[in-house]
Symmetry: none
Subunit: 537 residues, 2 copies
Amino acid sequence: MTRERLYIYDTTLRDGQQTQGVQFSTPEKHQIAQTLDKLGVDYIEGGWPGANPTDSEFFDEVPQTRARLTAFGMTKRAGRSAENDDVLAAVMNAGTRSVCLVGKTHDFHVETALGITLTENTDNVARSVEHIVGQDREALFDAEHFFDGYKSNPDYALEVVKAAHRAGARWVVLCDTNGGTLPHDIHEITKAVIEAGIPGDHLGIHTHNDTENAVAGSLAAIDAGARQVQGTLNGLGERCGNANLTALIPTLLLKEPYASQFETGITLEALQGLTQASRQLDDILNRVPLRQAAYVGASAFAHKAGLHASAILKDPTTYEHIDPECVGNARIIPMSNQAGQSNLRRRLAEAGLEVDRDNPALPRILEAIKQREAKGYTYDSAQASFELLARGELGVLPEFFEVKRYKVTVERRKNKYNKMISLSEAVVVVKVDGEKKLSVSESMDEAGSDRGPVNALAKALAKDLGRYQDQIADMRLVDFKVRITQGGTEAVTRVIIDSEDGQGRRWSTVGVSPNIVDASFEALLDAINWKLLRGDG
Amino acid sequence: MTRERLYIYDTTLRDGQQTQGVQFSTPEKHQIAQTLDKLGVDYIEGGWPGANPTDSEFFDEVPQTRARLTAFGMTKRAGRSAENDDVLAAVMNAGTRSVCLVGKTHDFHVETALGITLTENTDNVARSVEHIVGQDREALFDAEHFFDGYKSNPDYALEVVKAAHRAGARWVVLCDTNGGTLPHDIHEITKAVIEAGIPGDHLGIHTHNDTENAVAGSLAAIDAGARQVQGTLNGLGERCGNANLTALIPTLLLKEPYASQFETGITLEALQGLTQASRQLDDILNRVPLRQAAYVGASAFAHKAGLHASAILKDPTTYEHIDPECVGNARIIPMSNQAGQSNLRRRLAEAGLEVDRDNPALPRILEAIKQREAKGYTYDSAQASFELLARGELGVLPEFFEVKRYKVTVERRKNKYNKMISLSEAVVVVKVDGEKKLSVSESMDEAGSDRGPVNALAKALAKDLGRYQDQIADMRLVDFKVRITQGGTEAVTRVIIDSEDGQGRRWSTVGVSPNIVDASFEALLDAINWKLLRGDG
């Protein structure tokens, strides 16, 4: 049986940029375009040339992609020809092989927002599409508010999309612009459009996630016959975002009936780069990746419940709908349950510690983890502290230095200009190679503002570690997370510190104490000890 | 036309706790239960009594709720009677009116995971349900892996759920445990179950978000006839989470065909508390609320695109599928903050401050909130700090006392028994009624262990406030949450403090600073000032 071709249209660079707080630079747009192209999407919508400088700049140096790079714009305005519309001209001048224009199909919007007649609007759409086709380009028509328009005036909504189709549009894209149409309605209305004469292999679907149904709405349109689907990586986009391609693509490639029914431009091999593509976009945006994201989230294949975790060890298909490796993700069985020794040995191996199955330290390590987790520690993410704890039990943890004592002071008072200021100061006393070393630091950033006691402690601790000083010179604290948690009967503070070094290593450590300064200090010490274990400068 | 009753079943406290990194304390579980009850869900699944200490503790002091509090467990094991199964007994002993038991319906799991015969399993399910019903309780049966089971062996899957139904289960809940079933299949299989003889008003649906279709899958089951829907606030839950009630509830109440078809226990008035309920849960979990969340996200009604923003100003329905106020959210239009004023007046009224529509302080308060939120403050849950800020702008905030300065020291060193100990000490200088007062406290609990600098500061601050001393004598700090957040370009620390007094009042305050001690001190000051405003001893 021949499989039907289904086209993936990415609009991360255009609609994705409508996300609150998102503004890509031109190099970032190029980087994302390369990632999308490597993944194998069919179309990359690059932006609206002429609408803002970054979009124009992006098209000035069109990247070489296998995917069709598409310029976005709007249909010509009333009262002038397509040739004489300067906004449309800027879009055409980007010189892309494909051009996508948005236009109105909802009578209310035509009359209220544009203030023109329904006939004028239909004519604008048809003439604009003809203009693109006349220049030997591929034309796409984004039918804005199509579903709301169809509910309000089906005859008119159909008249506009049929006009675009007749004028030669390769794709008529049904857009649920406000994101409020539920999947069932999308299915019915898409079917009605096909029955009205536009073939499904000329129909696209563009949904938004305002009811958390964007993915389902896209699938509903595909079920009805649409053969192009639009969306963005990580579901970026205005308001609640667009249909999330990071969730849609694996569903279309891996799950039935789609996997057997369709062929796309994305190979199963390229699909294994999906998790990385998703995280790379978050890195560009300086966002913390969503742990719970479908397919690509760090928790997507994490099995916490005791019953589930033990079944997973017998057979992964018991609690997994796909193999995580298909999308480049990984299974996580947290230590916090009795998942047991095989899981522990796997984690030790990841830390470079090969331990025999019958090593008597294994049950001791599990017991130590259990006891510490009862006190409020967590080793799900603090892999470096886990390694130190395990090394302690295995007898392979050197003592690089010893902390004798420390003292931190925070003072808040008026300065000589009668303004309230704060000052933090830390003294740390360590013993290295038998020698006692006192260090003192205060916490002040370049702007002269106090960064607090933990910062002061970190500085003092790292100030003089004798012959180890060079080895920690390139490490820095990049994140600091604090949670109040229940350790036994009393609330305690849990601090997780993320550190980084010049070789691009990133590691997490944990500290727990009723005293937040103590908890931070413990995590700081682990961070330094882990770095010293790696032993390079 | 009479509307059909649709039941909402919340499992935030049970399945939601399977989220990686989530571990509610017992007081947190009580707080969430109260929020859910205020919202108006029909069932609150509180946990698995006997499976872990927190769950057992929660049921020891069953909260008074209008919603049915439900204990969760598993069907009896083979080879013993329901009466003699200690795991089941622990669940029954929680004494709840409703009991929900999970059991297998997938032949593969029965034979592989349990290693018993199909007949034994069916019998376990039937006997367990009979046991609940025999004790005059309401029985619910969670049919684990039902959809996968139905695909593998429809006759057997149906046999099990029919046995549960015949045994008297008020609800048979079809669970898509692995989260891999797509909405279309959920629809077809739910229809098949109804055709096989279990009426829709005895059928529930429980989905997971592994393909980002949990909400759509729930709607598909409701479309097919199921009349109970399970989910969690903010879509918490194992792996990618459960069906997100925060998205489902507004869709069911506000959007067609559901709004006309169904009656739920949730009023349109209670629905206006949804955004706050969602953010409160994030505060408890110390999570950053998801901006793009459907309905309740800070970006859900943010209109960035120029064309959209100008149309919204003409008529909000042009780019909004519902009115944001229906869910207690607010429209955001860059360069315009006329949104929010009515919302602001509603919050002021909640604090007992009736403010006229044309009061010039209203835009000032909005502006102050906006500026402080840009610095890292949050007022969604810190209602007491919000009230103090508003009172300041309204000119109705008395100055009870002034803090002149403070100093805190944390020291860690060996004691005379050569054991590492820590000590925190705080000095606070305040001016009350023109009189300067110096107080010093150290932080030591009954067990002689150090509770840290914030505790020492709180004690010193509350030690002598002159004539206000009696008024604060019955207040205590019950929770303390810390998050590192972005205030402008630098990371800052946000502290939220929950306080309680002898009259059962509970209030939250917020402080922000790069210095964690400063941030805590600011939140402490707000907590005391709010208590003094209430003016009673």
